[in-house]
Symmetry: C2
Subunit: 328 residues, 2 copies
């Protein structure tokens, strides 16, 4: 019997699911609305149904499922498989998700932080393939992170390693929603990038973004990059600020776990080469001269599938480890 | 036959050696002048002689030696056992130290970065005992670092992980000897602490340190802490600057690999509780409010023995792994 794995990315808005064979080839994927307001039991039922449907479409049944992996936002006790709380899943308080799912699926289930799952996806099948040592940043509302060291995800003593957006790069700088000052997240997340543009316009900066702000009452990160492409000076300055903050982050993680590859993911990488090249330029400008660094700084390759691929890969890894232990 | 291990700390000035039983109990230790100017062959001969002498004193012969570990400054190809170059060992260029020693000792030899070896010593037998996840800083001429993640030393893709003194904490700040600006090392190493005091006095600051500077033409880090103890205001400000930089380092490594324990070592910890308490205060002042952090920030427990203990422990680990592989 061939192995079949399911990877699940449980978000506040959508649940993404993918079904994979033993070589992590995608057999099928789907996405359903989370409807988190119906509570954990209803969400778990929906996950179980979706897995069954996905397996059926791929010509499989629940009996063929070897293991499932789930990426969820923290804080959670990932080892125990319990979601403690989540801003995006407000009714989930101390929910034993791993137990609920593994009983419903009659298969082993592994829980992982969602950024770590996406990081692992890029590591096994994307931009960091075979890097051995990799650091992953996801640029969205905030900045999430994941670290692979010597081929393993770094979890830390309390399963909260990789909070890379909260590395302080400008002491006494902008206030971050975490309570610290000067976090990278307060400068270079998609939200902070947009927010800095709004602040500049409110302070009287000249920019083609001013019209957007007047019409929509808001500016998005996408607006900034669109106006950058059209040559707007302020959009260029805002992008520079984000790129420099991200370059400082790259330098600091390089000197910590020394990744071979640094991967940026999240909506903001839609900005394309103009952002990537500025990050690389600032990195080269600010990195030490002690020795030449060859770290590759690049964008993610798997898009929105990174989470489900990573979760499935972790499930496969966990299953193989279990099998190996049973054989001993 | 019981196992016997030797740990060696190869420095530019002295070679420290320790002989240990299988439980890492110290059977004897010694220190000899390196005399690096005599060249690698002479230094290796001295190391071999010292190991033999140390074993004999403990009632052993070379035949009883199970393995030896050596901590050396980088850059080196530790896996291959080759010292590429070292500012403190100027005649050591591409020296196959591991091969030379293992032939001379007729036992397996493992080479490790000196800061990593000391980090490992504190991890297995000192302040970070059983922490699982630990970060280690050594405050000397520069700031060295070591990281233990999930019970293993982090080496990075090119064996240069843990260059924690070169984490940038003040972009556009003080120039570091590495070429970057704003490295932690440029503020909080023993040398930088002393240098900042000299700069302040040259800029006209009032301080009891002024007399020291006029008499000796220099100020040491030790002077700063001695005058701090006597209530000198400038010494207090300089110490504050170092403590704040070190607290920022603590926050940044906490958000990266999430250590349970952060250990400071090196001559500068002679400053005692006044320094440690200031680091902790700044940490608590600047850390996020998102969740309570319980990381222990403390000083090293093994003093100068950390390096030889760590090197011996790594040798034992390596030997045990070899044995296990041979049994399979």
């Amino acid at each position: 019997m061939s192995e079949t794995y399911v990877g699940i990315d449980l978000g506040g808005t959508n649940i993404k699911l993918g079904c994979f064979d033993s070589n992590l080839n995608l057999l099928g994927k789907t996405s359903v609305a989370t409807k988190a307001d119906l509570g954990p039991a209803a969400v778990v039922d929906k996950m179980l149904e979706s897995v069954k449907g996905l397996l059926a479409e791929a010509g499989h049944s629940l009996r063929d499922l070897s293991a499932a992996g789930v990426g969820t936002p923290g804080p959670a006790k990932y080892n125990e498989g319990i979601i403690i709380a989540s801003p995006n899943l407000p009714l989930f308080k101390n929910v034993p998700l791993k137990k609920m799912l593994s009983e419903g699926l009659a298969a082993p289930v592994i829980l992982e932080n969602d950024a770590n799952a996406a990081c692992w996806g890029e590591y096994v099948a994307g931009a960091g393939r075979d890097a051995g040592d990799m650091v992953f940043f996801t640029l969205g509302t905030g900045i999430g992170g994941g670290i692979v060291s010597d081929g393993k995800l770094v979890h830390g003593c309390g399963e909260n390693a990789g909070e890379l957006g909260h590395i302080i790069i400008y002491p006494d700088g902008r206030r971050c929603r975490c309570g610290q000052r000067g976090c990278a997240e307060a400068y270079a997340s998609a939200n902070s990038t947009a927010k800095r543009a709004v602040e500049a316009i409110e302070a009287g900066a000249h920019s083609s973004l001013k019209k957007v702000f007047e019409e929509n009452g808001a500016i998005t990160c996408k607006d900034v990059y669109e106006h950058l492409a059209k040559g707007d000076t302020l959009a260029g300055e805002i992008t520079d600020g984000s790129a420099r903050a991200l370059a400082l982050l790259c330098i600091n993680v390089l000197h910590t776990t020394e990744p071979k590859t640094i991967v940026f993911a999240g909506g903001m990488i839609g900005a394309g080469d103009v952002l990537l090249n500025r990050i690389r330029d600032y990195f080269n400008e600010q990195i030490w001269t002690l020795k030449k660094e060859t770290v590759e700084i690049c964008f993610a390759a798997l898009g929105e599938d990174a989470g489900i691929i990573g979760a499935a890969a972790l499930a496969a890894q966990c299953k193989n480890k279990d099998d190996a232990q049973r054989k001993q």
